[in-house]
Symmetry: C2
Subunit: 392 residues, 2 copies
């Protein structure tokens, strides 16, 4: 068994796939940028008014000023403004040559002849100067960034209409379990519906993987060996869930050894979800996850998603931890494992534990927004204490 920190170091050493593709900007949401975005122009690209008001010379502020024209955004004035002159100007419009400040509409009066008087004591320039936000040539979004809506705006403003993103890692997965039936059927006797597959399809999709679900296979040594072996080299990642009916600890590890895979992780110091497998065979990464959907959900979040993000070249691949106050005390008897407690966010913005009967409790995550992380050997977290939370 290794710790989560040790597992994170193993993930950090996995090399990105470094296969890229070009994609239309408006279809690039949530993809990982392969190259940095470099500003092709200064931002702003000209001195522009930050206000609706009058563009004038600061040295004229004590005199009446004659309005010689109107400048809307998009309009360029080439004539140089003379002493005693000003322009009516709107937000975003370029400053006319010869002016050095914009006075706000609210700071002026206009007389019956149309002359403008500055009536305040002082004024800022109210100008967004050329290049004050960014200079051309500067990196504005780093490679490895996951593209969020705000990055679409940034890329658009620098003319990046077809960003280069990394290819989605491909993931093939099976659900092993002689007790499993597909959700379309009604379970009889000791059978249960396979709930892991749909959840995993959702998690994989969100993590940015290309998913290929291969269905249920029974817990047969030869069958599982064959199913894994025949997919080696055909996907970046193979996942198999379950194997519980023959003892979590023994079945899948034996299969992995049988097909010649090198096991890197066989157990993680976490609760729930301790028995989890990570192995490698001919550059294909193989995961064995729990058959219990809550354990499997967490193992995915803690181990598989970071690996997918790492393969995708994301510069941030571990789950983001947010500090948040706890709504209710959490106590556990003994605690040598890192405990993950499903919580919702309540109306006060606190983490509030949800009803959780254990890792087979399929409904437990219904109202959960994440997990509070309880470090090994911590047995009490007090109400109002600041704790770390993984958002889901």
């Amino acid at each position: 068994m290794i710790t989560i920190n040790e597992s994170n170091l193993i993930v950090a050493k996995i090399k990105p796939l470094e296969v890229t593709e070009k994609i239309g900007l408006n279809n690039s949401l949530d993809r990982i940028l392969a190259n940095p975005i470099v500003a092709d122009i200064d931002q702003p690209s000209f001195d522009k008014s930050a206000m609706d008001g009058y563009a004038c010379k600061r040295k004229d502020l004590q005199k009446p000023m004659k309005v010689v024209g109107v400048i809307a955004a998009g309009t360029v004035v080439n004539e140089v403004v003379q002493t005693g002159e000003c322009y009516r100007i709107f937000t975003g419009a370029p400053l006319p040559p010869g002016t050095d400040c914009v006075i706000m509409q609210e700071d002026t009066t206009v007389d019956s002849n149309g002359l403008v008087y500055f009536k305040a004591e002082k004024t800022k320039d109210n100008i967004c100067y050329c290049g004050e936000d960014t200079k051309a040539g500067k990196i504005v979004v780093e490679a490895g960034t996951r593209i969020r809506p705000q990055h679409l705006a940034i890329m658009a403003s620098y003319g990046v209409v077809e960003p280069t993103v990394t290819k989605k890692p491909t993931v093939t997965f099976f659900c092993s379990g002689s007790e499993l039936i597909e959700p379309t059927d009604k379970p009889q006797g000791a059978m249960i519906r396979n709930s892991n597959a749909s959840q995993l399809i959702g998690q994989l999709t969100e993590a940015g993987a290309q998913v290929n679900y291969k269905g249920i296979i029974s817990d047969d040594f030869e069958l599982v060996s064959q199913s894994l072996k025949s997919n080696i080299g055909k996907a970046d990642i193979i996942i198999i869930t379950g194997g519980a009916s023959v003892g979590d600890f023994d079945f899948i590890p034996s299969v992995l050894k049988n097909i010649g895979a090198e096991i890197r992780i066989s157990a993680l110091n976490m609760q729930p979800g301790k028995p989890v497998l990570f192995a490698i065979l001919n550059n294909t990464l193989i995961f064995g996850l729990s058959g219990n959907p809550v354990s499997s959900f967490l193992q995915f979040k803690v181990l598989v998603e970071p690996v997918i993000l790492r393969l995708s070249g994301a510069n941030s691949f571990l789950p983001t931890l947010v500090k948040i106050p706890l709504a209710k005390e959490i106590v556990r008897k003994k605690g040598n494992r890192q405990l993950y407690i499903p919580v919702g966010i309540n109306e006060l913005g606190q983490a509030e534990p949800v009803r959780f009967n254990g890792s087979a409790h399929i409904n437990a995550l219904n109202l959960a927004n994440g997990f509070v992380v309880v470090k090994p050997n911590i047995t009490i977290l007090k109400s109002d204490e600041l704790v770390y939370m993984i958002l889901i």
Copy 2:
């Protein structure tokens, strides 16, 4: 100008569209459930072993026990277990009749004749009892829930392979601005690239809308009036961004009055993003957002996304607020508006303000994970103080 609370009340009164459709379970991620999910079976649906161990009678624990068989998950045993007998049993397998507890493997010794001895002082039942998590007929996921990966697992386990979800609200949008060019072109003079459209496509998609972007239109009164009018009734929502070049406050409101729309909101007590429009004409909801991408981003998050979620029938439609410690003091001179400060989440899980030059600062949100909310009339937030944050 109205407050954010007043705006939230207006949003709360908007009626859901109540148009539904059926969709394949594995394609339903992030959709809004139209009907509650009701358990069709008990969960678990039989008494099952929570452990790998031996199923036996508690009254036999002090005696040697004979192993009469092995039960894997998925296997049903019908013969009643007799006194002095036990079954080797695996996690998830059904209890054989006549037994009332499972002793853990670790708590046993097996002698050379294969007889099992319980060596611990006491044991739990280690049984997940039929129906202990959920009884058939109970609602397990409420209508209005946004479907997350964990809900896919829950639905699968109750046989819901084609959930009924609400239809995506349709949104048609324009970007108004005589200074705008599409990102494909290089800006000359006082022109700027349209960055709002791509960002809005991203935000609308994430919020669960069906998006129809109609392009840039110049700030021409007749043209904008005509463009809005001709789309009334063809979409649930029409959005127009910009209008800055002719004064944010006057142009779009005049257009809206001209076409006969009823203006419900003309300004929100927020910073940035105060001038924002919400109007209604013949059941079509119309929004006027800022031309500045940071203001527009925030107006979307505070006003438009809640409306989309409300139309979709989501039971939670306002942005989730998380309480989080602030990494650095925030001071503002005067503060009668509700201030939204873009922040990242640092390595300590705290909210850390990012560089932000104002609402036209297009790169400001590059490293942002959300906004800290500073209530009106609060001018100082101290370092380490717990603040509310909207995650993006």
